[in-house]
Symmetry: C2
């Protein structure tokens, strides 16, 4: 199907918007009137620019407060409409959106509305223009799609049809089944938007909080199925008013938008994409750092062995049990210290995973960076994290560890501090979850990306109180909890330091792991005594248990499925480690304790 996007959905000048829409793969655009009025290009120039970019002008919008008004007012409206139809001719747009009136002059008179819309359509036809009449959810007298359609049907003019908008329909809780009663050829246009399920005034909800299909709580795909059954063959067009997208770079937003339409088409069976390949584990996490020492000191204290070095690059493989961490001191390192730059995802079908990612507009990374490298499928996530689709120890596929010759087929090298391998093996450490800081403007995008590209399931977004603002965090995971990623975002675009990325290591016994870490010279984040007083008020513990947690700085949470015990290392650069002991039924990430961690992390920074 053809895809389109309203220019109001993107940030910037009209030409920035058009460029972004074209680059992201859209076939057409809706030109939002204000984007035309405020820009320097004449309509003919916009038309030419669109043609250059391979974009059709699918809609000009919106025309407001036209119908069911006293005759003198309608005459003024027709005069205004004539100007707009002339403009559309110059612009090369053949369909105009007319929203149901919100004017205090409008009368509750369907016959009058039909009669005036018919006259409007008659004028439009003289210019080769079609009128698509849409019910605004807050229209004064016409606020439902079936009502708008009854008026269009009564008008019976060939140049008058209806425009359906998923927000206006679903925000009011209307049953979209009735769409199938409308002949497809009378649906002149289809605008799509999703929105989070929040109870608020529908006008404010619409103007500030719309999002792309799949990012909110509406069944947009269900609505589209009804529309397709009518025989509608126009574009799927996104019209999203969103305060954040208005500020974000147009390029990434347009890519995100087009991805959402690809997924929507997949959901309704209109297109077949390579099937999702859900990762089955975390093969490795890669830290990039200008100075290996602070990172490796912590890894060493955590009981990791330096098992191997990459044969061509300054990358060491550190391992403990199933947890593998690459420490990269190559040119990508930045002076603000260590950061989590890449994740290896254990994939049942690495090539298939990469194919789906590519079709879904993820930037594909080179398979080899040097001629002798093992080929690896990799893409970039919206936050810039490199995602490698890998196999570990599966003979039918190239093993990513082949580039680390000390490892494959050999015993891992001895730990630098001489700890025996068997000690490491006793505690089957693996990566429980990874926490990635998202760019403030791309938080909605991040969840959709991880769901769409990786097949992970997003959980609810939670607010977390940092001393300097509310952060948000949203986890994505597979159904078995083998891959868990917490996506977090700061309180404001400027807030990139309040929180850091982290690697959480699963352990069967966090007390022992913490004691070993401390004995090896590691430093844990100090936790206030007041926290433990509260813990004692809330829970009853076995003899000595609470005292141990307080002594070591272990935090505790509990849900219906079990308990979660965890502690944190000090932050190195922009990354820290967490040790977690998760009861099998516990579903969360210790979010109730996050304010304690954040306050302690702030307190541990140099005074401002």
């Amino acid at each position: 199907m053809r895809t389109s996007i309203a220019t109001v959905s993107l940030s910037g000048s009209l030409t920035e918007k058009l460029t972004a829409a074209s680059r992201a793969g859209f076939d057409g655009v809706e030109i939002f009137e204000n984007d035309l009025l405020t820009g320097p290009l004449a309509p003919e120039e916009i038309r030419a620019r669109c043609a250059d970019l391979g974009l059709s002008v699918d809609l000009y919008q919106p025309m407001r407060d036209i119908e069911a008004v006293p005759e003198a007012e309608f005459a003024r409206n027709l005069r205004r409409a004539r100007h707009k139809f002339e403009l559309m001719t110059r612009l090369g747009a053949d369909t105009v959106l007319v929203c149901s009136s919100v004017s205090p002059l409008a009368e509750d008179d369907d016959d009058l509305a039909a009669e005036q819309l018919s006259r409007l359509a008659g004028l439009a036809r003289e210019f080769g223009v079609r009128v698509a009449y849409e019910a605004l959810a807050w229209g004064r007298h016409v606020s439902t799609y079936d009502h708008a359609w009854r008026i269009v049907e009564a008008a019976g003019h060939p140049a008058l049809g209806t425009c359906l908008d998923s927000f206006h329909i679903l925000s009011r809780g209307c049953d979209p089944q009735g769409i199938e009663d409308i002949p497809g050829e009378k649906i002149f246009f289809l605008q799509l938007a999703d929105a989070p399920r929040i109870a608020m005034d529908v006008l404010q909800w619409s103007r500030h909080h719309r999002c792309f299909p799949g990012q909110g709580g509406f069944d947009v795909a269900g609505l589209v199925r009804h529309v397709l059954r009518t025989g509608y063959d126009g574009p799927l067009s996104l019209e999203v008013f969103n305060d954040v997208f208005r500020q974000a770079e147009a390029g990434p937003t347009a890519v995100d938008a087009h991805r959402s339409l690809l997924l929507l088409q997949e959901a309704v069976g209109a297109v077949e994409l390579p099937a999702p390949v859900v990762p089955t584990g975390v093969a490795f996490a890669e830290l990039v750092t200008p100075d290996a020492e602070p990172v490796t000191a912590v890894l060493d204290a955590l009981g990791f062995n330096r098992a191997a070095r990459h044969r061509g690059k300054p990358v060491d493989l550190w391992q403990r049990g199933e947890a593998r961490i690459l420490v990269n001191t190559g040119p990508a390192a930045r002076r603000d210290g260590a950061r989590l730059a890449a994740i290896g995802l254990e994939s049942p079908d690495p090539a298939g995973a990469a194919r789906r990612a590519e079709v879904l507009l993820a930037p594909v990374l080179p398979r080899r960076r040097a001629p002798e490298d093992t080929p690896l499928d990799a893409v970039a996530a919206p936050d810039g994290t490199e995602l490698f689709f890998c196999a570990t120890g599966r003979p039918e596929l190239p093993d990513w560890r082949a580039d680390f010759p000390d490892v494959t087929g050999q015993e891992p090298a001895a730990n630098t501090t001489g700890k025996a391998i068997e000690e490491t093996a006793r505690d089957a450490t693996r990566i429980d979850h990874l926490s990635l800081t998202q760019p403030w403007h791309q938080f909605d995008e991040a969840a959709l990306f991880h769901r769409a590209v990786l097949g992970l399931r997003p959980q609810e977004s939670v607010d977390v109180a940092d001393p300097y603002g509310l952060l948000r965090s949203r986890a994505v995971s597979d159904d078995d909890g083998r891959v868990r990623i917490a996506l977090t975002v700061g309180a404001a675009p400027t807030d990139d330091t309040a929180h850091a990325q982290h690697i959480a290591l699963a352990t069967d016994d966090v007390v022992t792991a913490a004691r070993r870490f401390l004995a090896a010279g590691g430093l844990l984040l100090p936790v206030p005594v007041n926290y433990y007083d509260d813990l004692a008020a809330r829970y009853e513990f076995a003899e000595g248990e609470w005292e141990t947690y307080r002594e070591l700085g272990i935090l505790y949470d509990r849900d219906a499925g079990g308990a979660f015990r965890h502690c944190y290392t000090r932050t190195i650069g922009r990354v820290f480690f967490e040790l977690v002991q998760r009861d099998p039924g516990y579903r969360g990430y210790g979010a109730p304790n996050a304010p304690v961690r954040l306050a302690a992390q702030h307190a541990g920074r140099p005074p401002r």
Copy 2:
């Protein structure tokens, strides 16, 4: 009355919050439990810190999900409560807030609630603690203040009273008249918050959008009057959950908060402040710039005369009609160019105006900067703009122009380009309005400051679509429109360049003024032709009128009271000028045209 603030209302660590509350003049604080739990200070240390700062600990809060639960659960709750009462003893807090339960375990049983709250109060009394029971607006079974009071009354325990919260009462539209039925001594605490009138889920509204009294749409003063009639003599305490205040510096927020309580006390007759002195005009606007030339070139083209120079400072007075602009090249100049740094407000009683401002916590500026200067009363606004309360040509008061000896009692000097004075006098120019860019975190504060300190009336806040985000703008003015200030704020804390301050000059004939400006070599902001095509579609003009606007770049707006015609100069540094011709009945500021201006300003910047 005593004033207090909940620590959750302020940003930062607990000690930052306490310091800010003390500095702003609060008498006490509510300690929000999470602020205690996440910090390193023991309760005794917090108590000592508060004592050092002159703050009492008026409330510990909140205790949740206590009442009307099965006995086994209540036993656990009592155990938890005992821990908290012990903690409160250490903290020196004698009142605890208990919110009505939201637990699924809670039963709809007032008798059980009363019985359990009575037992809780009995335990509390052993520790010298009082329990203040409050109805949350979203409480499971108890959600109104009168319901909570009936339960407290039924319990009949001397250590059990009620807590009233203006948000919980007014957000539900409850009539606060019934408060007078509660004996004052049983109102153990009074929490105050305002909120904007937005239709949304009350829990989300409460958690993210509360604001200080006078910043929202609730009649908080009306509620307080009812409370005072009961004989309540506890503190007025602010409890505000607000996403922006969580990010803002604690110091200014606390000042803003305390100012709101001073105004509230004035409104209910609990305190007498110096009366507002509403300014009667704009005496001058002062631009600070590192380089006078670009500014004076524009002033010259606008027909201003350089009328005088300050006798001790590098400040020139430029004048045209009643419009006076000071150009200051002194040490406050910054390298990013000209900015609007000060405003002279014509004041009927400059000393009285300054007294009110000082009582309302505005920083008072030195009356004289040099021994020979005329004494001037001045304060700083929240955005740093210096506000001078002045007299111009009133014999009973010192004239600020006395420091500009070329002016007082003499003819103004000739214009630098030799234009005759009489030509200038023909068009009685004055300052129509000033537009000031506000810090993103202080937008609510700014409106309250201008209302409280200057007695100006805030209008509705409007959203303005900039190409890179939605800006907000809110005008304040006196009733006669002699002083008009538009307070504007960017889309995000990072957005400080999308919009600039400006000075709008009123003219009787904008067409002539624009032509003169252009003839004198001035440059106006170019306005797209598309804008004029739309204007022609919307309005009918007299012969040649529309063509003139298009030729010159004059924008047009109309409301029920009349028309508004305006045009803009290019931006110099961070400031630009506007020429406006306002019909007497027109109330606005041309907001519908602001997106056109903003897009043109972006387009005129160097390519990024």
